[in-house]
Amino acid sequence: MISHLDRKLWRDLSRLRGQAVAVALVMACGLAMMIMARSLIFSLESTRQEYYEANRFADVFVQLKRAPNSVATRIAELPGVATVQPGLSVLVTLDLQGLDEPASGSVRSLPDFEPPQLNRLFLRSGRWLSPGSRGEVLVSEAFAEANSLVPGDRIAMLLNGKRQQLQIAGLVLSPEIIFESRPGAALPDNRTYGTFWMPYKELARAFDLDGGFNQLALTLAPGAAERPVISEIDHLLTPYGGRGAFGRADHPSHIRVSDEIRVLETISVGFPLVFLSVAAFMINAVLSRLLALQREQIAILKAFGFTNRQIVVHYLKFAFVMVTGGTMLGAIGGVFLGHRLVLMYHRFFRFPELAFHPNRTAFPLALLVCIAAAFIGVFGAVRRAAKLPPAEAMRPEPPANYRPALIERTGIGHFLSHTFRIAVRNIERRPAQALFTVAGLALATGILIVPNCFRDGVAEILDFQWDIIQRQDVGVGLVEPSSVQVQHLLQHLPGAVRVEPFRQAFVRISYGRQRRQLGIQGLPANSLHNRVLDEHSHPIQLPAQGLVVSAKLADVLGAHLGDLLTVEVLEGKRLTQTVPLVGLAEDFAGMAAYMDMHAVNRLLGEGDVITGANFRIDPARRGEFLRALKQIPRINWVAIKESLRENFRQTTAASIGLIQIIYMVFAIVVAFGVVYNNARISLAERARELATLRVIGFSRREVGTVLVTELVILALLAVPFGLLIGTGFAKAILRAVNTETVRLPLILTTSNYSFAVLVVAVASTVSALVVLRMLNHLDLIGALKAPE
């Protein structure tokens, strides 16, 4: 049996359903975002963890030139090392039918007669390699899909300069390449780069590496620290051309998934916080209004003997109905969006199975957060009402105290119309309420800025940065460092308009306790192709000495301009030097270090050597150029700008686009919710006054003006703050989502700001129209009776 007080609750609610729904919707937006993000974090983390455990993902990785297998045994005996998995990894050139450009890949060895100890594969389709087989290969699923390859197909590969036809036995996944991209490349291109697995014996024979290994992975013993083990390994492997061991934190695929999780963590906190604050403001406004209206009812309830507690609980229930509605909507929305976004992750991340796992703790957490927001929103108002002595509450509220508004006291009062005076005095009389309204509106305006910032950032990368940073059409990497003569050979490729060589070397850069391994790019001092730009998009001229690094890398290292960085070369003569940091480059993907090409060669202690070249080509002869490239055996990889851009468009940009749309919809919902709620409250509070104006002869339009003037003044106050707040949000969120793998530039355009203003303006207009329509149903006669 429902109590009479609860029955009253339902009737009050149904009377205020427009506002209750607005509050619940705003709340639902925040919660949906939180539940979606927390569940995605949970899905990614738990799936990755299970995958790592089931397939024995290693803790430390190292690549080297070549070492005999006995060295692996010595490493296995190092303190802190649990299991060691040595193997081979070689770069190969592929010849794919139907693909103009050369493709490349990495072929890794699998033990001949047993499954590997570490980094085990997952068979997606087809079959494993038959023991002792020849001419068979396993292919990474991402590459196979991008090139429509299925088990049973044949693929041509240049193994150590010898062309071989291999049959695809199966398509596989590896915990090492959840995110697959060419080593050193900032962006993936699954069409032209793939990973393959062959039996150790066959691969070793083809490359004359029998009895040795050139890569090794290991797991640490429980409780063992990573750094000392890495130092030991580096020490042991230096004579064998070790390229520096690194832990999971430097593993490209691992970083990529961790970065995504970090982005989600930002989203799961920042956005819901803003949305729920807005919801708290709104609940407070709705409830304060209701309580003011029900002043006499409260007095009567108290006169009949209801306790303050019962009354407080009664009105809190009111808030909790909205909270429950918001939480349920938010949960449904969050789970739905989570399912959509998980599908999107399939484009980037290859897991045996990435299913959406709702994070169960997110739901009670969401409810709790919302209840807290509602509680903060209503408690003060409810307590004030409950504290009123019954006799006082039963008397109608005396006319409110007013005084001339600040703007009138400046002396321009004479020029103001009465409607304007009513509006400004109303605002000034309740500064707290006006402040809340302005704050809510400003937040709603602010969150409209962020999604378009994402969109504009992506557009900036795709349309602008890409072209001004990378002016080359094609980049080509050689199998090994070659003399400058090769450059002349490249120059004569058909269709090549301009060639610029580069020297890339694998190094470890450290500053203080921080270090990162990456490829250093040696470019001609005035590179026209691959340009290095500062934060104002001006080209940085590479000096004869010194290092220019990605601003993000300097940030990660904690280094500033002028600091001396230690650069350890991890190949060739393996020299170590300190080099001053002379410039910060704004780039959008990966982390890079740039140096003058001759300086790199000096750093390496080598003569004039190049490892690749960037080309500008004649678009009409593109096909001819690429086919010619395919015939050059020394070419290791080819990066075609348009392919990378297209890939970026379809993956990173598309996912950012999806998130942007979700945010935008939510932000618009909030903007409408806040404005509508505000207009409704204004109308309810002023019904009597407005009805009086109608009775004494004001037309609907004139009375509407009184109401709308106040809304417009508040909106005009809120919008500039909102734009400022939005700029702050955008900065904070972009800083948080900018990772070592992909970064968005902060682009604030007039059109972004205009759009935010436009949405608020449209929301205000629509809300005003709704309220003006309600004004037509104003009870004129009722207003003449005793005040409510």
Binding site: P399, Y402, L693, I696, G697, F698, I781
Partner: protein, 244 residues
Amino acid sequence: MTETIAPAEPATPVFRVRGLTKVYGLGTAEVHALAGVDLDLYAGELIVLLGPSGSGKTTLLNNLGGLDVPTAGELLYKGLDLTVADESELTRFRRDTVGFIFQFYNLIPSLTARENVGLITEIAADPLPPETALQMVNLGERLDHFPAQLSGGEQQRVAIARAIAKRPQVLLCDEPTGALDVRTGIVVLEAIQRVNQELGSLTVIITHNAVMADMADRVVYFSDGRVHHVQVNTTRAPASSLRW
């Protein structure tokens, strides 16, 4: 029984009311607030409507003032048929012709006394200056006080000033002294009487207070939604002489 009594001199009535009916609700819930009212009201008259609660006084006043439209019957203001007037015609009628005074003053709390009156002068065709209107109700001072700073009687006098500032043809007062003590009530009635005399507005006052009948030209007694009878006073008592 219903009867219509015209004043001594034959003239065209300002309001002509015939068979006026107002029904609220439907079916079994039907309430006949007005059950066939016949009445003529003339320019410059001061009319007092007396009758028990629910007898239809306020409904008649609302219909006369263009706040409500009747269900059936005839309601003419100087040839304007208020039964068929649309929303904007009613607004214009109220704006140009009618001054309202309510039991609870209904002032705009955010405007001062002067501004509450000034509000009307913004929309009326030939208004009195706010100061003059306030002077007429003996509120020459305290012009720049807000309603919250005024006593009940002062607030009601501001309301009267607001109603008369447009020089209304018709002044409709619904229990104008209902919320006031005797002394303040008499001050307010004096103001109404003065306006009636000086501006010549047809004035209709609803009250429960039979004493006020003495200040009227005619007293209309209401019961059960009809005019029960009309009493014509040969002399009007000044408001200042009333006591209750």
